[in-house]
């Protein structure tokens, strides 16, 4: 089912009357059967957006459509959604079986079918042998699976996940995100996934939305967004190690770095913010741009070198074979389409898209 947000806005007013805009005029269409990641730093309004879709938070303005139906004013229980909470909110006094059965008890489902659905769902998420346990007897990953099963057992139209992996350790997180992807594929349910972890969002999402201060920054497939960020915020938010940014001037059509011509660009002269990802630098056999190395960090397969571009420290991730220990100078190249030039005022990208 397609899900559409139109001008969705949420303004919180505190006791002294100060207004905070948590979500600002969000316009997003989420296609049927896709998994969309809502990504942003903490406090950017991503969980608020999710809770508005769930109906637990009332929007200040705008509309939410499930398919053709306007559900903005609909109570949460009538929307047909499944929600997985950040800390799962499994009822501690019920067994896994009772927890998964609970949503069905409130629906018009024959008992035999309900029991069968609980068993099927438990098997799908891989906890079929744990039905008699209490949540406190389960590991984090298992609790997570129970929470997903409980959200899915009533066959919702939309599955919402609120930072579902943030309570798991790193290894389990990797495993569970593959697991969530698999379950989503198998059921083919429209899913929205909230996270602050860009790597997590990129690996799991079909498409993702980056939010900042409640505003949509970009809505694209992860790789597209990574290679073609719309603005400086998106470029900075995605990628680990983060993108290098520094100020540089374009003089007579040439990008000037350290008072030397770096590369030709068909862009009006002026001062710009430049972004270059560390992994896009290559060590050049001949030609290239010579830099003085400040620091070298050997991290296994790759080597991180530090140098200055216009007074800003810049990192480059290069092949370990290309750098010798305590090398002082190196010649680097970078493809022109891997250089991002942003407007200093608006932060919008100029040479892409």
């Amino acid at each position: 089912m397609e899900l559409r947000l139109e001008n969705l806005t949420k303004i919180f007013t505190n006791k002294t009357g100060i207004e905070t805009t948590a979500v600002d005029k969000l316009d997003i269409t989420i296609e049927s059967r896709t998994l969309v990641g809502l990504l942003g730093p903490s406090g950017c309004g991503k969980s608020t957006t999710l809770f508005m879709i769930a109906g637990l938070v009332k929007p200040t303005g705008g509309k939410i459509f499930f398919g053709e139906d306007d559900v903005t004013k609909l109570a949460p229980e009538k929307r047909g959604i499944g929600l997985v909470f950040q800390n799962y909110a499994l009822y501690p006094h019920m067994t896994v079986y009772q927890n998964i059965l609970f949503p069905l008890e409130n629906m018009d489902v024959p008992r035999d079918e309900a029991v069968q659905r609980v068993k099927d769902m438990a098997n799908l998420v891989g906890i079929g042998n744990l039905l008699d346990r209490k949540p406190s007897q389960l590991s984090g990953g298992q609790q997570q699976r129970v929470a997903i099963a409980r959200a899915l057992v009533k066959k919702p139209k939309v599955l919402l996940l609120d930072e579902p992996l943030s309570n798991l350790d790193a290894r389990l997180r990797l495993q569970m995100r593959e697991e969530i992807k698999r379950i989503q594929r198998e059921i083919g349910i429209t899913t929205i996934f909230v996270t602050h972890d860009q790597e997590e969002a990129m690996s799991i999402s079909d498409k993702m939305v980056v939010l900042d201060f409640g505003k949509e920054q970009q809505y694209d497939a992860p790789q597209v967004m990574y290679n073609n960020p719309d603005n400086l915020f998106v470029a900075k938010f995605l990628g680990n190690p983060p993108i290098n940014t520094f100020e540089a001037e374009i003089k007579k059509g040439y990008l000037t770095i350290n008072d030397k011509k770096f590369m030709k660009f068909d862009i009006p002269d002026g001062l710009y913010d430049i972004g270059m990802r560390p992994e896009n630098f290559r060590v050049a056999e001949e030609g290239g741009f010579e830099v003085d190395i400040h620091n070298i960090f050997h991290i296994g397969r790759d080597t991180m070198i530090h140098f200055d571009f216009n007074g800003k420290n810049v990192r480059a991730l290069v092949d370990s074979d290309d750098i010798v220990h305590d090398q002082k100078k190196v010649k680097l190249t970078i493809k022109s389409e891997r250089i991002y030039i942003f407007d200093k005022e608006t932060g919008q990208v100029i040479n892409h898209g």
Binding site: N87, A89, Y91
Partner: protein
């Protein structure tokens, strides 16, 4: 003007910091003295405290509480076990005529106002107490639960209602009892006036005075004990309900759970340890009911001019200390041991039942 205020503020700030400095220095001096004493003791090998084993230190620290408990709790308990074997104990000259094991228990059990209702009392202490326990405790626990849940779900006037429900807790039992006795007066009492509004004939309809039938007096007593015990229960339940994670309710809302099911399937199980605690303590408390009856019906436990008696087990026991047949402490001890046994058995039963129903 602004300057003046600034000066005054500065003056008080100076005084404040001078006081703080003064106490700071005092603490420094005291610490210095302590340190010197410690060094001196260590030097001359006089530091006995560090040579005490852990249990001895614990005993020293616990001794103030232990001494008070020993005098006012342990000694009376042990003493009542001792008293119960005396035959014909006389308090005034401290003499006994012999020893018995079951004699005093038999005296209590066969006493015509303890278990078996006597002709002139109409009811017995045990029956009265059991009626109060088994009617007032369940009603007050359930009522407190519903009121707490309701209080938790309203937003406006929440604090106002919380205060109102909490008032009985901070009010003297005897005072409330007197107010109740006044409210239930036959002539001009609030309750009768209220009933006559609905066209009931309230002439000579007495609740706590002569002419009141047993169940009417009992109703007032139960009503009173429910109301006066409600405050604490509501407070405990409300606090524990407020401690429940909101996400459980959000999850339930998304699953279209009706209100009554949220209450019975989520709220009640999650606060079940508290409900159990309240149940046990209020059963014990209700078995020990005393001053409510005294406040409403006087020390005799008998409304004037009626042929029954509303005394409880504790009142029965108390009569042997300060009543018509004062002096025979052995019988009183036997009575309190029987009360103890009843409470013990009931608490054990509750603990057994709770194993399945309480989720920790």
């Amino acid at each position: 003007m602004a300057d003046f205020i600034k000066n005054v503020k500065g003056f008080f700030n100076k005084i404040g910091s001078a006081i703080k400095k003064f106490f700071w220095d005092i603490r420094r001096r005291i610490n210095n003295v302590k340190r010197r004493i410690g060094n001196f003791l260590d030097k001359h090998n006089l530091n006995f405290a560090s040579k005490f084993p852990g249990w001895a230190k614990a005993l020293i620290y616990l001794s103030p509480a232990l001494i008070v408990l020993a005098i006012f709790t342990f000694y009376p308990i042990i003493n009542s076990f001792a008293l119960v074997v005396y035959q014909n104990y006389n308090m005034t000259n401290d003499t006994i005529t012999g020893y018995t094991i079951f004699g005093n228990f038999l005296t209590v059990i066969t006493d015509d106002s303890f278990i078996v209702p006597a002709s002139h009392t109409g009811s017995s202490a045990v029956i009265n107490t059991l009626i109060i326990v088994f009617i007032s405790v369940p009603i007050s626990v359930l009522l407190a639960l519903f009121i707490a849940a309701a209080l938790n779900s309203i937003k406006p006037l929440k604090n106002f209602f919380q205060t109102i429900y909490f008032l009985p807790y901070v009010t003297n039992t005897i005072a409330i009892g007197l107010v109740f006795a006044y409210m239930f007066k036959a002539e001009g009492g609030l309750v009768n006036q209220f009933l006559s509004l609905f066209g009931m004939n309230t002439e000579n309809l007495s609740w706590v005075e002569s002419g009141a039938v047993f169940w009417r007096s009992m109703f007032v007593l139960i009503f009173y004990s429910i109301w006066s015990s409600l405050a604490f229960k509501i407070m405990v339940f409300l606090t524990s309900i407020q401690g429940i994670d909101k996400q459980y309710y959000q999850a339930a809302a998304i699953d279209a759970t009706p209100r009554n099911r949220i209450f019975s399937k989520i709220t009640v199980p999650l606060i079940s340890p508290m409900i159990f605690y309240i149940l046990v303590t209020s059963v014990i408390g209700a078995f020990k009911i005393y001053n409510a009856i005294v406040a409403l019906f006087g020390v005799s436990g008998q409304p004037a001019g009626v042929d029954y008696n509303l005394q409880s087990i504790v009142m029965y026991i108390y009569k042997f200390i300060d009543g018509s047949n004062a002096g025979n402490l052995s019988v009183a001890a036997a009575g309190s041991l029987i009360l103890f046994a009843i409470i013990l058995v009931l608490t054990l039963v509750q603990m057994q039942v709770s194993k399945k129903r309480v989720h920790y």
